[in-house]
């Protein structure tokens, strides 16, 4: 019985490369479809019912995480493995929460990929050690966060976060709060650490999505 795989990635070349790679192990896997966007991935997942979906994050028309959430909600039996390119992207936590079965880097070796695919169909999680380590740290952090109730951000940090979300730079925030830029950076550093984010832009969208800030409509 071969593993039926759906590939979702907007890079045609990457898809083709993967397919030819898969074809070298036709005893093990079979590529049953390709999607160029998140939306297409959802559609094909429904039509093809693959065993595994290899999903990129950045895609036009519905990114991979959103698509993963939808697919996992409707077809929990389909294993979704995120295949991303950047080593340090802050989507790991978001991804595991959407119910994906794995989170791998494109720098992965072909043999490792096959091994992961086998494991995934047996219900194991697909993840490199480095990712797992990051995840554990993150989870530990989150637990601290949650048991503290709400966001665990201090008042001061919330103030800084709101200003970040308003598009203010660190010097502007410093002036607004009458503190030094160093202190602003210190607060922001703690915010990013607590929320497991990579940069101020993610912090801003985080704040908006959670209504920590007044989304001045329009």
């Amino acid at each position: 019985m071969t593993i039926r795989v759906l590939i979702a990635d907007d890079h045609k070349l990457f898809r083709q490369g993967l397919i030819s790679l898969m074809n070298t192990r036709q005893d093990l896997v079979e590529v049953v479809g390709e999607a160029e966007s998140g939306e297409e991935a959802i559609k094909l997942a429904e039509q093809l019912k693959p065993d595994v979906i290899l999903m990129d994050i950045y895609m036009p028309q519905g990114d991979g995480l959103q698509a993963s959430k939808v697919i996992h909600g409707r077809f929990p039996e389909i294993a979704i493995v995120i295949l991303t390119s950047s080593e340090k992207d802050g989507h790991l936590y978001e991804a595991v929460q959407t119910g994906v079965s794995g989170y791998l880097l494109k720098s992965l070796d072909a043999e490792e990929l096959f091994g992961m695919l086998e494991g995934v169909t047996r219900g194991e999680a697909a993840m490199t050690r480095a990712m797992a380590t990051r995840l554990l740290k993150g989870v530990a952090n989150r637990m601290v966060v949650e048991e503290k109730g709400e966001s665990s951000l201090t008042e001061r940090e919330l103030l800084v976060l709101r200003l970040v979300a308003s598009g203010a730079s660190n010097p502007e925030i410093a002036e607004s709060l009458s503190i030094s830029v160093n202190t602003v950076k210190s607060h922001l550093k703690n915010i990013l650490e607590k929320l497991q984010l990579d940069n101020r832009t993610q912090a801003a969208t985080y704040a908006l999505k959670r209504g920590l800030v007044s989304p001045r409509d329009k």
Copy 2:
């Protein structure tokens, strides 16, 4: 007849300074109240019905622009003058759209401020030449934008904007779109110019507020 002024600024010292300044011209102006937040400003505007509100932008609990919108909606007879500190902040366009009567810098001279206040009560706009110039350029730009239908952003720019809103860095965007970092910067520069924004964080919140991106809930 003196001009009744409400001061809304979270910096107590600044408020007090302004008040003592105002008291030197009791023949002209009278400070009838102080607010430390946007919410308080709305409340006091209703209670006191001042002639003019001097409003800061960055404030905890409801920023000045939001408060301005509410107040202008309910009491259009009250003139609102934004008093901000940073020379180059991208809220100018947002501010004028909320119906404020003026947009001044805190670096303003006291005599100029009094002059502006007199003008405002006569229905004139309060604005420095520099601000007016920036505004005109912006309006000209906006008109180009609007007659082009929708956002005037090109496809490529929209793609970049979505990635920016997802919290991706320029190198990450470059890799995702298979173009150079220089090109990403070029696109982003054009985006910021077209939308009259200052930085990528503002671009991200812009995208979120307008639903250009899938706000992955949560």
